[in-house]
Every structure is written in C-alpha cells, then in structure tokens.
Symmetry: C2
Subunit: 142 residues, 2 copies
C-alpha cells in the first residue's frame, strides 16, 4: 500500500495533481486509513502511470479519459484508440511545422542584431515591421 507521496514519487506526479485527478474523477477514490489518509494499490499505480505517460505524449485529459475507457472494454474494436492517436499525431505535426517557422524567423532576428542601440535593433524592427504581415491569424498554436 502506497501513500500519496510515494505514489507521486513513483510516477513523477505532484501530490496535488493526484488529488486533482481524483477530484475530476480521472482517478478513482482510493481507500483510506482510519485517520483518513489515502492509500493506493497497484491498480492505481498503473492507472496513474498510464495517465502520466499519455500526458507526456501530449494527450489532453479528455483524450486520456477516452483511452482509459477504451482500455476497460477489451472487446470493442480498437479503431477509436487509433483515431485518438492519429488525431494527436496530426496536432503534433502541425505544432512542429509552426515552431519551425518561428525558429527560422527568430534565428534571422537574432543574427541580424548588430548590438547597437535599441533604436537600430533588428529584433524590435522585425517585430514592428512584420506587424504588417498578419495574414496568418491563428495564433502560435503551440
């Protein structure tokens, strides 16, 4: 039986985050000691590990909820899980593309900075001038 602190350590989660997951019903209510402290078993460890790994892969808590639900029904066709993963992959690819464009622009900014006064600063200039190029209005998306 694990205390919440030990479960936190084993999964690389903060204690408050575990309680938060319980509050939003992503984690089940665990057993308690007589004094009211939470105690966890292996099932909870597995579930939380799954959640954390999915979070590291960028899945939203809602997507994780779906995935957990799918895992609970082993006889259903798996194309739903596949669809969630594909959706996630697409999102990741979009973010990468967007960030690579940013990198290019930032690189240019940084390399053109002459180190003079701010009046001549390319960084500020680029930021100011590109103000005109706001054709792409969907934010940084990352």
């Amino acid at each position: 039986m694990l205390t919440i602190g030990n479960l936190a350590k084993k999964t690389g989660t903060k204690v408050q985050t575990i309680r938060y997951y319980e509050q939003i019903e992503l984690m089940p209510e665990p057993g308690r000691t007589e004094g009211g402290q939470r105690r966890y078993g292996d099932a909870e460890l597995d579930r939380l590990s799954f959640i954390r790994h999915s979070r590291q892969l960028g899945f939203s808590l809602d997507a994780i909820r779906e995935l957990l639900d799918l895992g609970d029904h082993p006889n259903r066709p798996c194309h739903e899980a596949d669809a969630i993963a594909r959706r996630q992959l697409k999102q990741v690819e979009r973010r990468i593309a967007r960030l690579e464009a940013l990198r290019t622009e930032l690189n240019r900014m940084v390399h053109e900075c002459s180190g003079g006064r701010t009046a001549d600063c390319r960084v500020l200039e680029v930021l100011r001038d590109h103000a005109a190029c706001l054709t792409d209005h969907d934010g940084i998306g990352a």
Copy 2:
C-alpha cells in the same frame, strides 16, 4: 479613428482580447466617444500589431511588455531585446526537439495498430507499457 471591432479585424484579434490587454495594461486606455465607446488611432494599431506578431512568435505577454518598454527607450543598448529573442529561440528549439520525440513515438503507435480489438491494441499497449519508462519527469513542455 477605429472602433474596437475594426481594430480587431485589422489585427486578427478578438474584441474581448483587446479589452483584456487594456485591463492588464498592455494596451493603453484609448479615447472614447461621448457615449463611451472606444476609439483607436494609428499608434494603437501599431502597438497591437506588434503585440500580436510577438505572440505569434511565441513570446509571453511579460516578454512582450519588456520588448515594448525597450522600444520606448531608443537610446538604451539593444542587448536586452536580443537576449529576450535568444531566450525565446532556445525555448522554441527545446519544444521542437520534444515534439519530434513525441512524433516518433506516436508514429510507431499508429503504425503498429492492427485494427483488431482494443485488447490487442498497440496504442493502448504502448501507453501502458511505457508507463515503466517514466524517467523523464518534466512533462510535455510544449
């Protein structure tokens, strides 16, 4: 003189966002009509464009505040603006690296899915199995 709605259209910002920027003092309080509606001039259009472009480049509102401040003091040395841009560039590069790792893993998951039942689903399996590899405990960072 622009209404808030027209300023919003010109800069690809939502009306509420402009009012939010005013509230947090990133945008100045504009002039008003007799009836109390906001009216904007070119200075505000420039400033908001600068803000939006910086946001698209991934700068935080705090960083933008600094940049705007630097722009207001043209005789100061520009290494501060440069430092902000460099910091931003580093962050973007870290995000890209992280996302590329995710892409690899998601790709593997998706390509190994056989389309059978969830019981055999590679997507769920990978998520479950990699639960063990939680050595990297710093979140998705993106």
